[in-house]
Symmetry: C2
Subunit: 292 residues, 2 copies
């Protein structure tokens, strides 16, 4: 199966799993609507697809794969809801639609984010086909990747970086944490479910780190070269806010070189897994070539 | 040991555990300061003390008890940070000190809350002296108690209740979720660590539910009868905001009757555990008589 068929197959299943997980909750209607709204606003589902692709490449999938994939997408979605708030990035549009707080108000948006984050841990704790040891591994790593030493820490550095000129190393650190940590977690969660060997986990971890940086460099490049229509959000925002970016620090051609370097390293890491891993290779290419 | 000695013994240990847990993180300084600030702002540590008291009454304590107690206090603290935000309760003072967002700004305050919540699950996942099955039980119940079907759902109902007159049943539902769920979790987490029987867990669960309601009714009563100095926050705020409260719905004397009823039911539930449980009895009395 090529990546396009793989995504066509799994995207509706991911969508349905997310809808079912929210539907099953006995909670206030506004909270349910707000959680559901941002989960169904779409997006590329890169994290769930990464997890599913790793499982597919390493074995035969896993009966709880969609639940873990959905839990990760809930964490990603909560982070977007909170990042979009007026006191953070103050975005009115996300994926071409009004942001959560524009529709539900700031209070419910904050709480919907809190609820999605909290629920994601419960979903993993209640998996039917994973033993307790692996659940604890998944939860431990999820907490580190999503928390102060991972994504949340990256968001703090990102906000603080807006007020000063970052060096290249500092910028990479922001992105390793803000984007890379959860992307890498998606890959490693797939590896844990697949009962991967330690060697495979090391290679996949390196794959995730380079993929995460490639993803973020392309994000910065798209902010310069893309249109608001393509992106579903305001283009050129980084430059107008004088935010540190790869093109800003390096020039656009050098940023593209850097993107190619990390994509190449990601492919090298995949090669260490042995055999061909077409889905992961295609995913790497997709992240480099994406238009939004 | 009576409750006063018990608290005198454990409060500095709880404080130290919280400080150590934050200190051990490699994270941006502002995030660390913000997390630390609200954790060290004090408060009654009722949830950690409840967990420790249950463990003490059911057996000989547990080497990971302080870590689980600290994890619960982190969840409670994150909820206070988010509740105090301008788009929520818009409070400038908490426990007599400026609220987190007044000191660190809204963005860092939101992220410090997110980080505390995320970390609490990781702390439980990394316990040294609890088997994986019990870690999963602790995490599962923590997610339910703190999330959309528990505390966060209660906060949504509370916010929505500000715009309308609630009936008594609706008000009780707000408090069961907003305050009761995490208080009950503190008790049940102690029971899980103590390897309590199913019968003990049922009794302790009922204890928690009545204690939670008693706690909240006393909170409402104090808002009418207390002073801002005693409370460390603005007194009379509920009435000035026309918020539904027990004294408002029932009159002050009837609210006090209701408080006594729930305190009595809490004591009955304790009695079902067999023998005397002086710490839990004293804790119930303390919650009824507290001045802040």
């Amino acid at each position: 199966m090529n990546l396009s068929d793989f995504r066509t197959h799994y995207e509706p299943l991911i969508q349905q799993e997310l809808a079912d997980l929210i539907q099953s909750l006995s909670i206030p209607a506004s909270l349910k609507d707000s959680m559901h709204y941002s989960l169904q606003a779409g997006g590329k589902r890169i994290r769930p697809i990464l997890l599913l692709a790793v499982l597919h490449e390493l074995g035969d999938g896993h009966p709880d794969a969609l639940k873990v994939a959905a839990a990760i997408e809930m964490i990603h979605t909560y982070s977007l809801i909170h990042d979009d708030l007026p006191s953070m990035d103050n975005d009115d549009l996300r994926r071409g639609m009004p942001t959560n707080h524009k529709v539900f108000g700031e209070a419910v948006a904050i709480l919907a984010g809190d609820a999605l984050l909290t629920y994601s841990f419960g979903v993993v704790a209640r998996l039917q086909h994973v033993d307790s040891e692996d659940k604890v591994r998944l939860i431990d790593l999820m907490s580190v990747s999503a928390g102060a030493e991972g994504m949340v820490g990256g968001q703090v550095l990102d906000i603080e970086g807006e007020e000063k000129k970052l060096g290249l190393e500092e910028l990479e650190q922001v992105h390793r944490l803000k984007t890379g940590a959860l992307l890498t977690y998606s890959i490693l969660a797939g590896a844990i479910l697949a009962k991967a060997t330690d060697e495979e986990i090391v290679a996949l971890s390196r794959f995730g780190q380079h993929l995460g940086l490639a993803f973020q460099i392309q994000d910065d490049i798209l902010d310069v070269t893309g249109t608001s229509e393509e992106l579903g959000k305001t283009a050129g925002k980084d430059e107008s806010s004088e935010k540190s970016t790869y093109p800003g620090l390096l020039t656009l051609p050098k940023a593209k070189e850097k993107l190619d370097y990390h994509a190449g390293e990601a492919l090298k890491a995949i090669a260490e897994l042995g055999g061909t891993k077409p889905l992961l290779e295609e995913l790497t290419a997709l992240i480099v070539k994406r238009k939004s």
